[in-house]
Each structure stands twice: as C-alpha cells, then as structure tokens.
C-alpha cells in the first residue's frame, strides 16, 4: 500500500512539474550599447515611472509594449499633439488633446496620481515651440511641473530635452536652433529646481544638429518620429544616465 501511495505521489509531482502553465516573458536586461557605464539601471527600476509626452513618446510606448524588458512596467500618459501649453487646458476644452489612459481622458498633471508613479518623465515642447515660442514654452513647462508637484508632491521629476527635426522639415519657429535654445533653458530650469535633465536630443542628432536620418520613421511626413532602433537607444540612454 505504501509503495502505491509513493508511486502515485511521484507521478503527481512529475505531472505538476512538466505541465504547461502560463508562459512568462523572459525579463532579460538590455545590455548597454555605450561604453563606460558599468551598471545600467534594470528595467524594473522604471516600474513606478510614468512617461508624459506627445506622439514621439507614444512611439516609445508602443516600442515598450513589444519589448517588455525595455522599461519594465512603466506607464505612459501621452497624446499626439500634446504640448506643455495645451496640457494645461481644461479637460473638456474642445481643442484639447489630453492623454487617454485606461479608457478615460485624463489631465497630464494627474499622471502620477492616476498611475501611482513616483517618477515622472516628461518630454514635451515639440508642439509648443512653433506656436508659443521659447518663453511661452518655458512658462508652460514650469506651470505643468508645478501642477504635477502640487497633486503629488513626493514625485521625482525628470525633464527630457526636445528631440531634433530631420533636415528640411523645420518650419517657422520650430527649428533645431530654437530647440537647442529651449533645451538650454530647460536644463537651467532643472538645475534651479532640483529636477533631473535628461538630454535625449544629444543622442538623436547628427553633427549638424538635425535628427539622424536613420533614426527617423517618417521622412515622408513630419520628420520627427523615431524608429525602433532609435527607441532602443532612448531606453539605453535612460538606463545609463538617470
């Protein structure tokens, strides 16, 4: 009798160990592609991060959906055409383009409150500079950050530089030269207020200050959006410079 019980228990153990359970995605680390940094942050460091941005960050969100080992469980609060200025508009403003999060439109200033994030990464400005100029964009940036902090005082703020435009696609005041000037003001703003400045522009531009051609996914359209390989570089930069 004891022998039979042992045999049956062994069989149960074998079956349970080899049964096809839920697939779990591998959570392999992305190796640093740049030299000199010994320990990049793990993807899990971004589990409590939220990324606020426009269609450029929207692309990053899609990249991360396809690559779960990129930024872990980071949340995304983005909308095409979002800017520092229109992020401040009322939620039901007719021309508003607020982020859509889990089935609802939400204000960017609520990004941390809605997601539970403790780290807020922002990349906006591309949809501001051509309309509001550098001063108008800086003022709106300060106001948005102020609102985020007033809703969720303990969050860490990371401001990412505006990225470059493909050569030939600059328009009006939306030029790579003005982007650089804005980024300098953004950097100063971070230094004055204890926020971290993340210079994504530096890894996306060529030696003339334009978006590197091979990083651009829409050379036939706006000349500002990224390829998957550019997104991989973005992720890599975040893991090595935050």
């Amino acid at each position: 009798m004891k022998k039979w019980i042992c045999v049956i228990l062994c069989l149960m153990t074998v079956v349970l160990c080899t049964a096809c359970g839920e697939k779990k995605d591998a959570d392999a680390e992305i190796q640093a592609s740049t030299g000199g940094i010994e320990h990049p942050l793990p993807a899990s460091w971004f589990d409590d991060a939220v990324f606020v941005g426009d269609s450029i960050t929207l692309k990053l969100s899609y990249y991360c959906e396809d690559n779960p080992s990129a930024l872990g469980k980071a949340e995304f609060f983005c909308a095409g055409s979002l800017g520092y200025n229109n992020a401040l508009w009322d939620i039901d403003d007719y021309d508003a383009v607020h982020p859509y999060y889990r089935g609802e439109v939400a204000l960017s200033e609520d990004c941390a409150a809605k997601t539970g994030a403790t780290k807020v990464f922002i990349m906006l400005g591309m949809n501001d500079l051509g309309i509001y100029g550098i001063d108008g964009t800086c003022d709106a940036c300060a106001e948005l950050v102020n609102r985020i902090k007033s809703h969720t005082p303990d969050v860490e703020i990371y401001l990412q530089s505006v990225t470059p435009i493909l050569a030939g696609y600059e328009s009006g005041d939306l030029t790579n030269a003005n982007i650089v000037k804005f980024n300098e003001r953004l950097k100063q703003f971070c230094e004055d207020n204890g926020y971290q400045y993340i210079d994504i522009n530096s890894i996306m531009r060529d030696d003339r200050g334009n978006l590197t051609e091979s990083y651009c996914s829409d050379p036939d359209a706006m000349g500002i959006h990224f390829t998957d390989s550019a997104c991989a570089m973005w992720v890599d930069y975040l893991k090595n410079h935050v």
Partner: protein, 158 residues
Amino acid sequence: MKKVIALLCLLLCAGAAITACSAGKDTKADNSLKEIYREIKAEVSLPDMVELDSADKLDRTYGITSGMVDGFAGGIDSSGVTMTEIVLIKAKDEDSAEQVAQKLNNRLQSKLDQNRTYNPEQAAIIEKCEVQTKGLYVTLIISGEAEKITEIVNEHLK
C-alpha cells in the same frame, strides 16, 4: 479504502494535469478573432502594428478588463504616425458588450480630438469610422481601408 485513496490520488493527478495544461491557452473566441485579424493583415496593407495580445494591454489601452471579454484580437500602428487601429472583441454578455462599446467609443472620440486641429488628414479618416456591435461582437476599425476591413470582419461574423 485503499482503492478509494488510490482513486482519489489518480483523480487529483488528472485534474492537475488538465488544469495546468489548459492555463494560458486561448479561448475559442480568441482563436476565431485572431484568425479574422490574420486574414485582415493578409488582405490589407497595414503599417507595422503593436498586437493586442494580452489582457493587460487591453486594459491599459482601453480600460477593458478581462472580465468583460471572451476573446479579442487586433493591433495599433506602432509608429504613432497614422491612427490605424483594429480592435475585435467578443464580450462575455450583453452588459459587457455595452460597456466595451462605450470604452471603444471613448477611444474613438479621444483619437478624433487629438487629431482634429493638429492632423486634419488623420482626423478625416477617423471621422468616417465607428464602433460596431453585432450581438456580443464589438469592433473598432480605424483605417483608410476601413471599408475593406469591415467587409472581411462582417463576412466572418454573419
């Protein structure tokens, strides 16, 4: 008594095997919707799409939880440049179908709002699209080829 214990152990063993092996497998509704989506991709020129392949993605993107659906398939333009989006859902019941339709209508409106002023070309495409409900099946198709895609879907959901 010994026979009863042996039988119970065997039943436990078999139950564990069946449960473990069935975990993570797609439902019948999932498979049929995935088949429809595969046909759409084969027949229509679509940009590179982020696949809607997990309940988590469905919830994060649309606020539609796994408790509402029996199966789903689809994708979103991964470049973020066009607003192409295909969402095929079989709801669990009529109430869920109503909730799913509401969530997808919210999504459609949000995309229209985002593009109305800043991307009129895409807004014009979105304006022609709508959420459709057929029984427990709810679909959202945003694409310049929406008509052709809808034909393919309707062919399967007669």
